[in-house]
Symmetry: C2
Subunit: 462 residues, 2 copies
């Protein structure tokens, strides 16, 4: 069971912004503005002893001066005073505190003392703390947004089904910006920094029980508690796919970590063992993290290896066949019934086969008829569709065709498209409708393989 106080991170009744500021350069200003300008419906309490009002809100000298109970506090004050204001939050019995302030164990020296002091403060109460040294939380549904970067620099993604947990703030903010551009929907984003209190595994447990989240992408440098992780992760991955990018795999990366978040990276071999035992799916690199997360959030697991490939670009069919074989997947053998049905769809100058080349003059209607012909073939476990938009006859309608087909089909469908803004616009629309769109055959095939691996995990005998 997750601590109900964690709910305050995502959907708080009210928020105290400690370090709120009228100075546009200050982090506390950006955080305050996020809450004021977003669709956040709770009460907002700026806390700053040097101001009477901030953005029209009455400012408090201390969180202790707020009459109401406080659900969430966000702390962005200088390191020298951070522990003092956190102590007041504990005294006030605030449910959860997000500490953006850095200067704790990650800097060594003074920072280690400051971390020890923080531990003692937290031990005196029930307040839960995210951070320090983090970006905090962005919640697509409640409007909580402690990302202190302006939206022209860091776009926010649309509401969606993927949660992100990251130990690196820079990684997290950068990928949020990237996902926004791709139209990939995110449910919750959590940058957890030093894990002085709330841990990676607690956040995963919370997300497992979150109705808005269907898959979690994790960037991790070092796990908080290996035994606790192993014990709990398996119960999480059985209900929700967890994909992890482990940073600091090798000696070079490990050394880089110690001066970054102060984590112990641990042996990569040990991590690989943990991944195998717990069903956490490892992503070898950043692209794979979100390639897998998208496929897994939008699709059921892949129950077999037999894939159909449908395209209007012959070369892309060939590359996809290669990529599937690289992934240990197979081209499905179509049934006679399917072949007969396809013979009416493919023009006389084409060939019925898998990859199914619908020829460069295919329009959305030919795609629709081809997919219809494949729909009930039991010999097909999933479909990769590659609708290239460069040829003239294929227009925007193909997006509707694919969205509708995926809803009906009940088995995995992923798509691949490559091109300029005209193409990325359509990929964006697919993503917004929960159809994964990849920019290359290799990425589409590896996403299909992630669906296969997850299927093997949830259906394993043990």
């Amino acid at each position: 069971m997750t601590d109900r106080r964690l709910n305050a991170l995502f959907d708080p009744r009210n928020v105290a912004i400690i370090g709120a500021s009228r100075d546009g350069e200050k982090i506390g200003h950006a955080v305050m503005r996020n809450f004021v300008e977003n669709r956040f419906f709770g009460q907002i309490y700026p806390v700053n002893p040097n101001a009477d009002t901030i953005m029209g809100y009455e400012s408090y000298g201390s969180v202790l001066d707020i009459e109401d109970d406080v659900d969430l506090a966000v702390v962005s004050v200088p390191p020298a005073v951070a522990n003092d204001v956190i102590r007041e939050c504990v005294e006030k019995d605030v449910n959860a505190v997000i500490v953006i302030t850095s200067g704790y164990q990650e800097i060594g020296g003074d920072g280690v003392e400051r971390s020890d002091e923080l531990d003692a403060i937290l031990a005196d109460g029930d307040t839960r703390l995210l951070g320090p040294n983090c970006l905090g939380v962005w919640d697509a549904y409640s409007g909580v947004d402690t990302l202190f970067l302006p939206s022209y620099k860091l776009k926010r993604p649309p509401q969606g089904q993927i949660a992100i947990i990251t130990q690196s703030g820079a990684f997290g903010s950068t990928v949020m910006d990237m996902l926004a551009e791709m139209g990939v929907g995110v449910s919750r984003f959590i940058s957890y920094g030093n894990q002085a209190d709330i841990t990676d595994i607690e956040l995963l447990e919370w997300l497992r029980d979150d109705e808005e989240t269907d898959a979690v992408a994790v960037y991790m440098e070092g796990v908080s508690d290996g035994e606790q992780f192993i014990e709990n992760a398996k119960r999480i991955t059985e209900e929700m796919p967890v994909i992890m990018l482990k940073a600091g795999k090798h000696d070079a990366g490990k050394q880089a970590i110690s001066s970054h978040t102060g984590s112990l990276a641990g042996s990569y071999q040990v991590y690989q063992g943990v991944f195998r035992q717990t069903g956490v799916m490892e992503a070898a690199h950043m692209e794979a993290l979100f390639d897998y997360a998208r496929a897994l959030a939008y699709n059921p697991p892949l129950d077999g290896k037999r894939i159909a490939v449908v395209t209007n670009g012959g070369g892309f069919g060939v590359l996809t066949a290669d990529a599937l074989e690289n992934q240990g997947l197979q081209l499905a053998e179509f049934s006679d019934e399917t072949k007969d049905a396809l013979a009416d769809v493919v023009p006389s100058y084409g060939t019925v086969g898998n990859p199914l080349d619908l020829i460069g003059d295919a329009d959305a209607d030919r795609y629709e008829r081809a997919l219809e012909a494949l729909k009930d073939d039991d010999g097909i476990d999933g479909i990769i569709v590659i609708p290239l938009l460069q040829p003239l006859p294929l227009d925007s309608e193909v997006v509707d065709t694919l969205v509708n087909f995926q809803e009906e089909y009940g088995k995995p469908v992923v798509t691949c498209m490559t091109g300029s803004q005209f193409t990325t616009l359509h990929m964006n629309n697919l993503e917004k409708n929960g159809v994964a769109a990849y920019s290359s055959p290799a990425r589409a095939a590896s996403a299909m393989h992630a669906l296969y691996r997850y299927g093997q995990w949830v259906h394993r005998d043990d």
Copy 2:
């Protein structure tokens, strides 16, 4: 020596467009319009017996009716009459003919007969033929453009240093569109189809001698003549990097090919041997093809394994360290002099190390001073710079910093940036100025490794 008649493909004195049409749906219309609207300075002769004028140009009944010698002819007529018009081109002694028309050996049956007839026609003269069943040529400098797709569907890239040779038209047009969006400059694009006459290796030889081309990206399903390829490719790769995506590696892909371009895919093991012998660099997938080509076109080879990593995002430094180790490259050990110089650049709350974390508050000036400090360190063979634009202090100026630094440095520099349109705009500017910009640490590291492999090839002892 390459046949000088091949020059007519790229920079013809004049062009006959056989099948030019007033009908906007026809390929011959699109090709005609490309030449009319582009910066093509030669004479344009539409050939269409059913029209007096096309787009204001006098139309000819046959290429034989043109009084002037004809340098280039483009053929887009129905298959049934294609050989007849090609025969007239041979009779006219046209230097080169691009045959877009399909319906030759790739369709089997009739098509095979048509191919045999075409061979006989070509044997009767000196005319050289590209295709059939191809998209033809796009030349960034002369304005030759036979890509019959409108620019809202298929953007054309800016002028640049990378040539593209492709056996698949769909692959070629799709990646042109993608490269245009990325701002990646292309010199010449050649879709060569069935290779009835002009072969892959002849095109490579022509490009080796082309002053505008610094690297060639090749999509190949099957080589025209293995022995000839092996004999000649080595002499090409010593002067110019050739990167190849071999399609139809496995059984699945090979079967897909036979119905696509009618090529024999051959054994992938044999191809791998050819790559090793000839210095042609294999790209495992589509992204790698252009990731390598960009690094190789813009940079000298990498002469050692010792890489410096400079970033304002700690997590990206860690991921890059991991990615370099995956590629068999190393993090450089900075000299004492370099460390002293960097101590003045990195803020007191940071650490001098490699990866060099310039901290989230780094601006372009801090980047400039850091790169200056690294410039003369003999222990560094190349630099990966990761300027994340999400943090507020880093602005557009960093593009100038990087472009200027690469010009001065004389060793390889590649960059990595991730984000939304604000970021991709800056990546675009880097590319347009010949600085390779990758969207992830793994891709930047693999590009650096391509530079290392090419260095090993050109400096080998044998």
